[in-house]
Symmetry: C3
Subunit: 172 residues, 3 copies
Amino acid sequence: MTPAASNPAVDEAPKPKKFVIICYSGELEKTWATMILASTAGAMEMETTVFVTFWGLQTFVKDRKRITGENWMQKMMSFMQRPGASHRKLSKMNFMGMGPWMMFKLAKKYNVSKPKELLEMAKEMGVHFVPCQMTMDMFGIKPDDLIEGMGEPIGAATALQLMTEADASLFI
Amino acid sequence: MTPAASNPAVDEAPKPKKFVIICYSGELEKTWATMILASTAGAMEMETTVFVTFWGLQTFVKDRKRITGENWMQKMMSFMQRPGASHRKLSKMNFMGMGPWMMFKLAKKYNVSKPKELLEMAKEMGVHFVPCQMTMDMFGIKPDDLIEGMGEPIGAATALQLMTEADASLFI
Amino acid sequence: MTPAASNPAVDEAPKPKKFVIICYSGELEKTWATMILASTAGAMEMETTVFVTFWGLQTFVKDRKRITGENWMQKMMSFMQRPGASHRKLSKMNFMGMGPWMMFKLAKKYNVSKPKELLEMAKEMGVHFVPCQMTMDMFGIKPDDLIEGMGEPIGAATALQLMTEADASLFI
């Protein structure tokens, strides 16, 4: 028996930090903030979970989907807010799409990746993107409507569990 | 002397998790998010405090109150934003009340409780709803304007104390 | 050798709490909430850092600057949203400046300091205001455009480090 055996901590790697984002908003700027933080946390090897709920879920619908939902109310709501990570709008100064265009132009100039690219990066870094079951039900969004690589839907209780065990959690 | 006496932790129940929400927004969707999280945290027996501040306080004014405040500015502000948990508006797609109506319709279909019902549930689960003293002063809201069962008003210092002692806190 | 020497904790002051705000929004009310929390946390001797990013950075541009940025897109964006802590607008009920005027009037009546005064107070209390490097790049904001006393710009990784080490962090 070695001393290490009696003190298992000696051999272990330091416990990774845990970081949780409640991704609530579907606006371009907030989506961007979420993706920058999530991909950076992933790159820092934090255990990162993004719980995607309410308008946030629009961002994770496949870009090519034009309308989601089963009944007319759900269809109308998805139609009013074109889903997909590439179709987010600014919360202000949208100018019929002019605002986002300028933002993307500036981002490119300064080597800042678009939300969609950051999302792919974050997934590769092992960030968990997990949809909210209740939001899927209310908006009639099916697992097949969502981008590849998302986790199984969870509820508020599981999200709270994750948050209270995390080193930091943000509502964005 | 028993072994338990020398190690009091043995007899104790696990310490409950603490969860804090800064309820800042008065929008329907964010109110909903707050109420879902608060009632779920209450049901999970977390020590849950909702600090209600700025526009959030509008949600906790009694539904039947049409106007609050003492001077014309306070009255005008309350008039512009009808107070009460049942009168919250969507941040977008409000369509003169059509948006919330659709949301409530969908919620009912999928067995999601309205914010007002979740608020009652949360109170029964022991969630503490605490108004911000400064917001009450600035908007001229009296204790009697607020729904039953709220705690005594507190200030930013007490809210910060609660947050830094909590396992998770969110600004919604 | 005293017992204290073998147990250094005995002589130490209690470790100060750490508090982090991600100041993302440039709206008057949220700026106010940020400044109230930051100055209070500073007064409570918490180690307080405000990471200023996206629209939040507009608040920290000198009041007298009318336009910032190098190219026309950056200039246009700054022009649309007049920068400076004294020029924040309400997220709703702005009424061409009438809403903020009423808010300031009410604040004065009830001895609530304006955001700009709270910002000065917070700086004196030792609160660290740190700009986001990426936001400065994208909006073409130079260190000289910003108010005195801000820290060196940092990136998302450093912000994440601060958050996961803090006792509480909020995204406002």
